[in-house]
Every structure is written in C-alpha cells, then in structure tokens.
Amino acid sequence: MLFRLARIVLFYVALVAIWQAVVVLEIWPKYLVPPPADVWDSLKDHVDNHQIPDAVQLTMRRLLIGYSISLVIGMVLGMAVGTWKWVEETVGSLIVGLQSLPSITWAPLAVLWFGLNDKAIIFVVLMGSISAIAISTSSGVRNIPPIYRKAALTMGANRFQMTRYVLLPAMLPALAPGLKLGWSFAWRSLLAAELVIASGLSVGRLLETGRDLTDMNLVVAVMTVIVAVGLLADFLVFGRLERWTQERWGYATA
C-alpha cells in the first residue's frame, strides 16, 4: 500500500519536473506555458479569495442536480427499452441517435428555451448523460439471467417486487460502468456548457475569465481543479462501486 502510494506520488512529481524542464528550456514563451510554481500561486490566490471554492460549489451543485435527474430519467428509459421490444425499436433508436450528438450542440436551443441561467446549463448536462445511462441500463436489464426472474416468479413476486428485489440489483454490475460513463459525460457537458453559457461564477466561467485576461496561470490552475474533481469522484464513488460489484457478482455463477 505504501509502495503503491509512493509510486503514484513519484509519477506526479516526475510529471511536474518535466513540465518545469519545458519551462526552463523556454521552448514556448511563459505566457503560453506557465511554470508550475506560478500556477500553484495562482491556485492558492484564487482559493484564498474564495473564487475557486465558490466556483467549484456552484458547478458541483449543477452537476449533482443534473446527474440525479439524468439517473432517474436514464434508468427509467433504459429499463423500458430493455424490457419491451417495441420501446427498443422506437425510443431506443432515438437514444442511440442522440448519443452521437455532442451535448454542447444543445446549448443554443437551451439558451433560447430557458435563457442564460442554471436551467439551460442543466438541460445540456441532461442531454449529455441520459443516453449513456439509458443504454447501459437497457443492456443491464437484457443481460439479467432468466433464471433470476423465474426463481422470483415461482416465489410469487409481483411486478414491483420483481423490479425492487431482483431486476435493479441484478443489473448493477452492468450498470456500474454506465453510471461512471454518465457521470463523466455529465461533467464534460457541464464544463462545455459553462464555457458557452455565461451564468454565475462557475468553474467554466473562471476558465473563460482566465482566457479573457490571458492569465495562463489561472487557466491551468482551473484545469487542474477539474482533473482533481474527476479523480476524486472516481476514487470515492465509481471505482469503489465497480470493484464492489465485480467482487460480489463477478465470481458468482448464475
């Protein structure tokens, strides 16, 4: 454990060292490739003046709202698509089609419909992540071993009990990667939307501010924050969920 941790730390130290080397060699001017120390200072300044914490808070709030709504809609759609053939042929094809549409292309419509506000941004997040969640839910439902249903049926399960006690837990291993995918789609859609739709001091807005001021230190500092949030979510939630489902379900023979 300690060795693994040391290896990870070493990797990032090396990465920063290479970055520093590139700066020292002056291949590109400083205002395009800022030195790590300046980025660190900028990060600290913007944390101290509350800009980064506030921005992260606003962005995370949008993300959580958007992702939660996506989860509900995506799972309901996915279960319907996975259960009924005719829904698959109609709604299912639409979902697959919409997935090929980058979610940010919804931004112009969203602004016209909702205005320059949270709603427009959350709408873009929904359009970005619903299809990923729906598609993995539907394949999760389809891949449930038929014996699970049969066993519950002969124990007298009704439709609600079947869903609650059997179908939902049975599809979790197939769903876990989909939830993660949906999360990362939501996260990207959100930042793209925040860059395009000017509303509130968000992470995306902070990035855009850095660009406007040609403050490369701020730009890189904010990018680091974005990566850190992604890693943290993976570490705290999705990595654990995936490992747990693999362990519990993976070894089991149906």
Binding site: T154, G156, Y165, L172, R248, W249, T253
Partner: protein, 272 residues
C-alpha cells in the same frame, strides 16, 4: 393412454382430494418445420404428503410438465388443477427448486432465504424464525453470512432448498436439483432430502433422469418416455426410509424402472 399397471405396482391412488390433478394434459411445441408433442395426454394425481418422482430421459417432457405445475407454462389441452383450481400463474404455494442454483449473488445465504419471505409479506419476527429454522434444517448454520461464490455446488442447492422450504409451500417442485452435482454430493443430498421430507411432511414433485434417484426418493415413481412425451408406467414404492442407494430393494426397483425405459428405446430403434 400408455399406463399399464401390474399388480405389484398397485392401483393409481384415488383419494378423495388429490392436491395436484393433471387430467389429459397435452403440450405441443412449434418449431419452424414441425410440431413436437412434448406431452401427450398425461394424467397424474399427487396427494398431500406424497413424494412423487417423474423419471425419464431428456426430451420426454418431464420438465415441461413441472413447468406447467409451476404455472410457468400452460397446457394446450387438458387440465392442470391444484387444490381443485386451475393453475394459472406461478405462486409461492408451488415453489420450484431449479437445477441451476437460482440464487442471488448480491445476497448472502440468510438474505437469499429471507427474500422469498419478504415477497410473501411475512413480518420480521416470522421471517427470522423461519430463516433460522430452515438454515438449521439444511445444515448451513455456519454459512449464513456467506455469499454464493463462496459456496460449493451442493451447498448452493441446500440454500435453494431452504429458501423454497421457508415459504412452507403446499407442494415443492424440484427440477433435477441434483443433476449438476458430483456423485458423492448427490448421495448426501438425497439422504438429507429424505430426512427433511420425513421431518417436514412436505409434498414433493421431483423430476429426474436418474433412475436410481427416483427409486431412492419416490413414494410413487412415474416413468415417462419421449417423442411424444407419454406416461408409461407408475410404480407405488413402499420401502422403508431412509433408503440407502445400495440396498437391494432400491437396486431392484431401479432395475425395473430401467427396463421400462430401455424397452421403449429399444422399440424406438427397431420399430422401423
């Protein structure tokens, strides 16, 4: 009807209220080219407390028959009555133990057994009482917190059996539950099942292709032959329990059942 009765085989029991009555049950399966008669006018009665075995080679329709009793499939012709009412859908009073371990890997042993009781709407105290009782009955007390991937095939079938018994069904349907197990484990489970049957007085309909198994377990053994699936003969077995797989009487009976089956296969081959 293809039932022929010898004096020693006894008479088809005609008790006043059989728990299960199958009357001239027929079932066809349609494939692209032709239809297969999976069941051809099967008539069987099973009384309360009986251990009934259906034995026959694969393709004789015995699993289809069990599915009809379970309510998972429906006959094309004839009637399937349970407690004098037509079987329409699956129900906990006719719970099935499957050949595959039909258990939920995300639940431990205890929770798997409890799930059926939750579905049945039992309250917490009653659920606990029954889980304790039936885990004990199948000798899995030490494994109540274990997950399915930690259990052997024989242990998984014990869990399935406990889960089914915990529902205290009117009839327990067993679809080749020991077929996928090694011979030693199967011997052990056959003995345990006999003991459990003696202790609980459950009514069991047990489907198998293993002639010896049918001879060990059955009070009544129905022999079925394939293509079309017909009931060929019924044995009433009146041997003391628990029966050992190597006792003379069991070996003798198994030989008789086998003769019935071979006779038919023989006829099948040379009738042309």
């Amino acid at each position: 009807m293809a039932i022929e009765l010898e004096p020693e085989a006894g008479v088809v029991s005609q008790k006043a209220n059989p728990l299960l009555e199958l009357r001239d049950v027929s079932k066809r399966f349609l494939t692209r080219r032709h239809t297969t008669l999976a069941l051809d006018e099967i008539t069987i009665n099973v009384n309360e407390g009986e251990f009934a075995c259906i034995v026959g080679p694969s393709g004789c329709g015995k699993s289809t028959l069990l599915n009809i009793v379970a309510g998972l499939e429906h006959p094309d012709k004839g009637e399937a009555l349970f407690e004098r009412r037509a079987i329409e859908r699956p129900g906990a009073e006719r719970v099935v133990v499957f050949q595959e371990p039909a258990l939920y890997p995300w639940l431990n042993v205890q929770a798997n057994i409890e799930l059926g009781l939750k579905i049945g709407g039992q309250n917490g105290a009653e659920r606990k009482r029954r889980v304790d009782r039936y885990i004990e009955l199948v000798n899995l007390k030490r494994f109540r917190k274990a997950y399915m991937h930690e259990l052997s095939g024989g242990m998984r079938q014990r869990v399935q059996l406990a889960r089914a018994l915990a529902l205290e069904p009117r009839m327990l349907l067993m679809d080749e539950p020991f077929a996928a197990l090694d011979a030693q484990t199967r011997d052990v489970l056959q003995q345990e099942l006999q003991e459990i049957w003696l202790r609980t007085g459950a009514t069991i309909l047990f489907v198998t292709h293993n002639v010896r198994e049918a001879a060990i377990l059955g009070d009544r053994v129905f022999v079925m032959t394939p293509a079309p699936g017909r009931l060929k003969r019924e044995f009433n077995v009146d041997l003391a329990r628990p029966r050992s797989p190597d006792s003379h009487a069991v070996v003798d009976l198994a030989a008789k059942i086998r003769t019935e089956l071979e006779h038919d296969i023989y006829a099948d081959h040379y009738a042309i």
